[in-house]
């Protein structure tokens, strides 16, 4: 069956009344859960699993998929409005989305996020449709050395994630790497920095750190600076209108980062979080005005938003075509497939074409629904900002606590949220940037594991990283991205000196 016949089969499923209904239910549930700080697709899918018992697998899985990308779609809302990431994939969204909201452009920021999400989602579904079978080979092309090189490439971007002191950015990044080593080391089974406390054996969930460093720290700042914040309601919402110039500005990042996000989503282990960071950094690096990033740049908002949604579709490639869950969320999705008696894998496309293509086709529909649902909601969502501040602050704290508790129903995690909140607050006060900490935390763990896996495989020979073209080229990119900006700076300084 070629992609065209497949899509016809798929649309028959997606456009049946059952298909439409369950896509709609899925995306509504997904967006709502995604909007809540901390509650992400994993909780959403886990809750839906018992509901699908006994359902016909095709509509049930179409719904589950809707919950997943719906949550990523909705996840930007609280990042933008409250600096409290809705899901881990929208941490980077807050970098420019929150400043925009602070400048009284909340409505516009939400609209840009929705458009970028829709664009990323749709472009990636087209790629998924045309390339899913072919891309399964991309998904397996990355071995441990290539993963190491990829993470290294990501880490070189730390300096570009921060304003001001590079030293402080580096200190924050080192702290992030240190925190990620806490827990049982997968390569030896040894406990590292756990003090024998069973609650630390798995290390920290990313959300605890993201919500602590962003949401809780932000709340502390709000309490501290309450005097200088008295915008009128109108200013808070701002105009919803995305002008033609805005669209033009975001078209470049959206297009580029939809591809980048999709490819990173295809790689098991990378996923929406890493994709959104890399896309953000990518755009900042190539931008003519990198200094605008972090201060409410439209590009800085559109890039991670199109990327994380594209990565979500990308994650379906290894899941559907190889049966490999590339992330925690897709692992739960895999569980949902199995409960419904469907085994994702290389044969899904031929054995159950209605499911394989049905899910893909439903994603077109789902993305359209999401856009239609989200755009009219924006004025109401943006009004959250006019909730009296004490109430708003309490709500953010409450939802951060609920979100963290729902990760593994462990009270210990709540204390850790407060610890990271305090750390985040201290970092703000002493102007250490939080993004390098977060980035190092995400990439550092995988980088270390990939490095050590490579070393075991090669019996300690470092040549494994330059022996094959894929890791070698990634390492070269990492190297040049570190060196070139320095060289450019040096050259321009020399020019200045000559003048």
């Amino acid at each position: 069956m070629n992609a065209f016949d497949g899509m016809i089969t798929g649309f028959q499923v997606a456009l049946s009344w059952e298909g439409i209904l369950f896509v709609l239910i899925g995306v509504i549930v997904g967006t709502l859960i995604g909007m809540m700080p901390g509650l992400g697709p994993i909780s959403a899918i886990a809750i839906m699993i018992p509901i699908t018992y006994g359902m016909d697998p095709a509509p049930a899985l179409v719904m589950m998929a809707g919950v997943y990308y719906g949550a990523v779609f909705g996840g930007s809302t609280s990042s933008i409005l409250l600096n409290a990431p809705g899901i881990s994939g929208t941490v980077a969204t807050a970098f420019d989305g929150y400043p925009m909201a602070q400048q009284g452009k909340a409505g516009k920021a939400l609209a840009i996020a929705a458009i970028a999400s829709f664009f990323g989602g749709t472009v990636s579904v087209i790629m998924l449709m045309l390339l899913a079978p072919a891309l399964s080979s991309v998904a397996i092309s990355f071995g441990p050395p290539a993963y190491f090189a990829l993470m290294l490439m990501g880490l070189t971007a730390i300096s570009s994630l921060s304003e001001g002191s590079t030293i402080k950015a580096m200190i924050a990044a080192v702290a992030g790497v240190m925190v990620v080593t806490i827990g049982i080391d997968p390569q030896t089974g040894t406990q590292r920095f756990t003090f024998g406390n069973v609650n630390l054996f798995d290390g920290f969930d990313f959300l605890i750190i993201a919500l602590g460093l962003f949401a809780i720290a932000e709340v502390c700042m709000l309490v501290l600076n309450r005097k200088n914040r008295s915008l009128s309601d109108d200013q808070k919402l701002g105009s919803l209108k995305v002008t033609r110039a805005d669209l033009k500005e975001m078209s470049g990042p959206m297009t580029r980062q939809s591809f980048v996000g999709f490819i990173l989503g295809v790689l098991p282990g990378a996923g929406a979080t890493i994709a959104s960071f890399i896309s953000y950094i990518f755009e900042k690096r190539i931008s003519k005005n990198p200094e605008e990033f972090g201060k409410g740049s439209i590009k800085g908002l559109a890039a991670p938003e199109s990327s994380n949604n594209a990565a979500t579709s990308g994650a379906f490639v290894p899941l559907l075509s190889l049966g490999i869950p590339g992330s925690g969320t897709t692992a739960v999705m895999l569980g949902a497939f199995l409960v419904l008696g469907v085994q994702p894998g290389p044969l899904l496309m031929t054995d159950r074409p209605e499911i394989f293509w049905g899910i893909i086709a439903s994603m077109y529909l789902g993305n359209i629904f999401l856009l239609i649902l989200n755009l009219p909601l924006i004025p109401y969502l943006a009004k959250i900002l006019s909730i009296p501040r004490p109430l708003l602050i309490s709500l953010v704290i409450m939802f951060s606590l609920i979100g963290v508790y729902s990760i593994s129903f462990n009270v210990f995690d709540l204390y850790m949220l407060l610890v990271f909140g305090a750390l985040g607050f201290a970092m703000r006060v002493f102007s250490f940037p939080a993004p390098p900490f977060i980035l190092a935390f995400i990439l550092g763990g995988m980088m270390e594991q990939a490095f050590r896996q490579s070393m075991t495989i090669s019996n300690g020979n470092l040549a494994i990283f330059v022996d094959s073209p894929l890791p070698l080229s990634l390492i070269l990119i990492a190297f040049f991205s570190l060196v070139i900006p320095g060289l450019l700076k040096w050259r321009s300084r020399r020019k200045l000196a000559k003048m």
Binding site: I33, I47, Y53, S141, D185, T188, G189, D202, Y380, Q449
Partner: protein
């Protein structure tokens, strides 16, 4: 008015989430007249997150118990994730002698404490019944030159550095030790086995792209890949040939002259000091469940094998397994 809609939705969902996790802390003992009959809902803990093997087993068992009416009271499954099970085990251990707190477990209940990652192990709990057996599989890329386990082990004896094994659990846990156990029986030096752990979903891809050589995992994980012709299975750890399409093609290690096997058992336990009357009750109920047609359907759906053991048989089986694993771990320099 409208601005409160979102807040209301948030608050409502918050309540739902809070409700999902209400725990029954109360501990009361019925069974005055000798026979135990539950008088309230039974809590079943899956010591891991949603979607995994423990979770699926617990949910299916609770569902079939309810649908068949074998157990009249409701069984609520809750997930207690963390520390590879250690968090859930510590929690259950705190429910001393409660007949209303069950949990599902499998070999990690031995591996995790033996690796010093849990204070509590199987001997700290009351075994109720084993339900399922699963087996390990050793798979290689379809174009590998090895045709059976002996080819692989011969190369490992000759040049142990040239072969890397990958699994999803950490060293000293299941994927590693099932391989060590079979390889050692074939004469491979267990200390020289190179094992890498990949917990981010990359284990299978690393075998497919040739970064590593052997994938040590459960049979259920490889069937689809074998069907698609991506990998081949050199051997499985079952004692006899398994039944079922594809599964029956997998040669056992024993068939290949390696006299060793490994069972990935899965069963149910209660807290320490559970009353004998309650143990008798559950043992009987699990037996009924295991023999029911409805549960046979479940086993078929997930490719699980039947392996019912009552409380006493289970305990003996576990103690024997424990001794073997302990010796093996010591030999490769892991464990306590």
């Amino acid at each position: 008015m409208k601005k409160t809609i979102f807040t209301t939705i948030l608050a409502a969902s918050a309540l739902v989430f809070a409700g999902c996790n209400s725990e029954e802390a109360a501990n009361e003992n019925t069974g005055e007249s000798g026979a135990f009959e539950p008088s309230k809902n039974i809590e079943m803990v899956a010591p891991a997150g949603a979607g995994g093997g423990w979770d699926t087993t617990a949910r299916e068992v609770a569902r079939v118990f309810g649908e068949t009416g074998i157990v009249e009271k409701n069984m609520t499954v809750i997930n207690k994730e963390g520390g590879g099970g250690a968090i859930a085990w510590a929690y259950i251990h705190g429910q001393d002698d409660s007949p209303y707190n069950l949990f599902v477990s499998s070999p990690p209940l031995m591996f995790v404490p033996l690796n010093g990652q849990s204070e509590y192990g199987h001997e700290d709990f009351t075994p109720l019944a084993n339900m399922i057996a699963d087996y390990g599989a050793f798979a290689v890329s379809a174009d590998s030159e090895w045709e059976d386990l002996n080819d692989l082990f011969d190369q490992m004896k000759e040049d142990p550095e040239s072969v890397t094994v990958v699994g999803t659990s950490s060293p000293g846990s299941m994927d590693h030790m099932q391989f060590v156990r079979i390889a050692k029986a074939a004469g491979v030096d267990p200390k020289k086995i190179k094992y890498v752990s990949d917990q981010d979903g990359g284990a299978l891809t690393s075998v497919l792209n040739g970064s590593v050589d052997v994938f040590s995992t459960g049979v259920g994980e490889v069937v689809e890949q074998v069907r698609a012709g991506n990998i081949k299975v050199l051997g499985v750890t079952a004692e006899e040939r398994m039944e079922g399409e594809i599964l029956s093609d997998f040669p056992t290690a024993i068939e290949q002259g390696i006299d060793e096997s490994f069972i990935n058992w899965r069963g149910f336990f209660g807290p320490p000091n559970m009353d004998q009357a309650a143990v008798d009750y559950y043992e009987e109920k699990f037996k009924e469940l295991s023999e029911s047609e409805e549960f046979a359907e479940v086993r078929k759906k997930y490719g699980w094998n039947e392996m019912y053991l009552n409380s006493e048989e289970y305990e003996e089986f576990l103690n024997n397994e424990y001794k073997e694993i302990e010796v093996l771990l010591e030999e490769i320099g892991l464990g306590n």
